[in-house]
Point group: C2
Chain length 450, copies 2
Amino acid sequence: MDSRPSVLLTDLYQLTMLQAYIEKGMEEPAVFEFFVRKLPAKRAFLMAAGLEQAMEYLESLRFTASDLEWLADSGRFSRAFVDYLERLRFTGDVHAMPEGTIFFPDEPIVRITAPLPQAQLVETRLMNLLHFQTLVASKAARSVLVASGKLLVDFGLRRAHGAEAGLLAARASYLAGFSGTATVEAGHFFGIPLYGTMAHSFVQAHTDEMEAFEHFAHAQPAHLVLLIDTYDTEAAAGKVVALAPRLKQEGINVKGVRLDSGDLAEHATKVRRILNDGGLADVQIVASGNLDEYALQALIASNAPIDSFAVGTAMTTSADAPYLDCAYKLQEYAGRPCRKRSEGKATWPGRKQVYRHYGADNRIAKDIVTLADDPQEGEALVQPAMRGGQRLAPPSPLSELRERAATELARLPEHLRRLQDSPPVPVQISQSLLNLAKSVDECARGVKRG
Amino acid sequence: MDSRPSVLLTDLYQLTMLQAYIEKGMEEPAVFEFFVRKLPAKRAFLMAAGLEQAMEYLESLRFTASDLEWLADSGRFSRAFVDYLERLRFTGDVHAMPEGTIFFPDEPIVRITAPLPQAQLVETRLMNLLHFQTLVASKAARSVLVASGKLLVDFGLRRAHGAEAGLLAARASYLAGFSGTATVEAGHFFGIPLYGTMAHSFVQAHTDEMEAFEHFAHAQPAHLVLLIDTYDTEAAAGKVVALAPRLKQEGINVKGVRLDSGDLAEHATKVRRILNDGGLADVQIVASGNLDEYALQALIASNAPIDSFAVGTAMTTSADAPYLDCAYKLQEYAGRPCRKRSEGKATWPGRKQVYRHYGADNRIAKDIVTLADDPQEGEALVQPAMRGGQRLAPPSPLSELRERAATELARLPEHLRRLQDSPPVPVQISQSLLNLAKSVDECARGVKRG
């Protein structure tokens, strides 16, 4: 995306609440934290993603003249408030887990500390950005775990939920360990490696499949992957064997063939044999079509001779869990810890830190969630990222974040790697946090006032 | 969105196939159709949406100087091809079902007729736009069917999959019959009515809930909806009763209260009694929190005194069916009908039309899918929308599309209105289409060449 959505991409109540805050002079520091309440079914962990886009949003936050005019004309807002919005910039602090970090429920992955109106206003878009990339990275990481050693490529743009979803899903899946994407703009904008083959329509537009292969070979001599399931997969594999020597004379090597339908394991086995018998043992087999981590696991368990998987819709939409039960909650205002107690939605008050403990095998053993001013043993996961509206470091290259994600996945213990399980979450709430929660409750009940 | 995504928001293979088409002079007219292969579970119909954004995309399709430079530098494309892209515009025809039309599997909702490279290139983004809005409109229509007479509002932006998803979900749900959205940019850009209340954080930022209500009332005197579940729902309802007379003296009317947690039916009943006993019978009750059409149906069946529902994540992500099994397939090239025969993915060849038949009750009885040149009785659903790259009519106001959607929903027979059923699809394939499919198969098998 070479252009940012309008700052009006927010909920109406953010603006109406802001007007009330401004009118009452409620501009003391507020602390909000973004976290996930609970894991989707059959999920054992999540992977943080989207911080970079969240920080870009905060840095560039401003109302344009046309936004302000529209707001003024809407009749909902005072002139004084519209003037305030004209001057509004994000001047707060951000603490966050770096992208690629494995995390669990009740752990803050982003903390915003800023004057209340700023910290409130940014809620909707911050959630929109952090939720989606975390959702996709967490889903993609599961394919990465089961398909180690195979090449994984994102093919999801066409059924992603709009333009930004397609682009950010390419980023989040690459971060989680995919090798690349078919989405050209993701190559252009993020520098993610691009992969592509050919479509059935290309074969169909020719009267002859062999002629289609030959045409495509001449147009894509350096990256030649032929789609062979349009009519009869094995017959088409035979055509590739017949064609390859002719292409070789012209200096063109067939790099791979793609299977997109039917029983992929069975076709891959037959096609592998046809290719090998035809002297094409180095031609790779790419599989696609309704793949997800479960399908990958089954194909790999069956020893199907597939070298590369294109994963699309199921990953881009996180189809088995298309949203996370996440929240961005006020934890402290003007130095006073807050806690929402709505039924089934109570949250832990105060500004928090997460300390990670590793076992002797260097795998994640447990996390302790505690107050930020209650230091503990372990690795502190929530780190300063922005102070006074300014980043503390330049954006990390995507390659670095990807390495971090790989390191994190390597540290997952066996019981957190299984696709079908919902193991207990390895998170412990500290005594200081339990005490604070109790005292905030008593305060709100009127037992005492803090 | 005040700015369009780059034309590079496409799959790499579109560009590589294009280069091959151009090199071989394959620029004859091609016909592609967008359709859904089968319905998600527990769905009885779909609602077409997204045509307006698809047409805007086609009208504005062009490569910028920076796109072209990047493509040239990528090393994948010839100079001649990049020059071709510089001149490329969409000059084709569009036939489509108007937005808001009810449709079923195997029925084309959009047909593109254009020189092959153009019709191919637009595949990814057309699908991305048509799929998502159709997905959301189809989901939102189910809430509209079960909650007739209630006000429905989209609250889904925060967990929508990115910016465009949030904005287009507001549009698609409004088209399907929602009354409005909380997404400010959807009001700004599409003119959709805006609704909003207040957040728990607003209450928490005050040391006293009553004070929070009073502050908010003064900042939003004309649209006052108070959120009452932050601590104790019924106690907060009592505070509203105590506050309302004081506000009334200042000319401020409490318009509604919002419930967001717990047993919504039980709270609504208690709160309704408290409000009525306090002389606030005209204060409406708004419910939110993990709502979808099933929850709405249960709440309405229980006679819960709820006036308005805010539906968020489940609708915006179409959570029970986050994607459609849709396709954009080549049906004809250079006058020759095409058919993909990949296992489990065979499609009907040729350019098609859908004729709808109504029963004596004016409800949908059946559809006949046939060839465009095989006129039948019934209402022809696929209509010309663009010719030679030019729209045949200015964009329809959203209000008109919304009326069409309402008319369509009113024409659904009882058995297609139920949430839990998967009734047989009322679609009949014509004899002429069956004959063509058979002859295309025989042709591809080599029995004869067409």
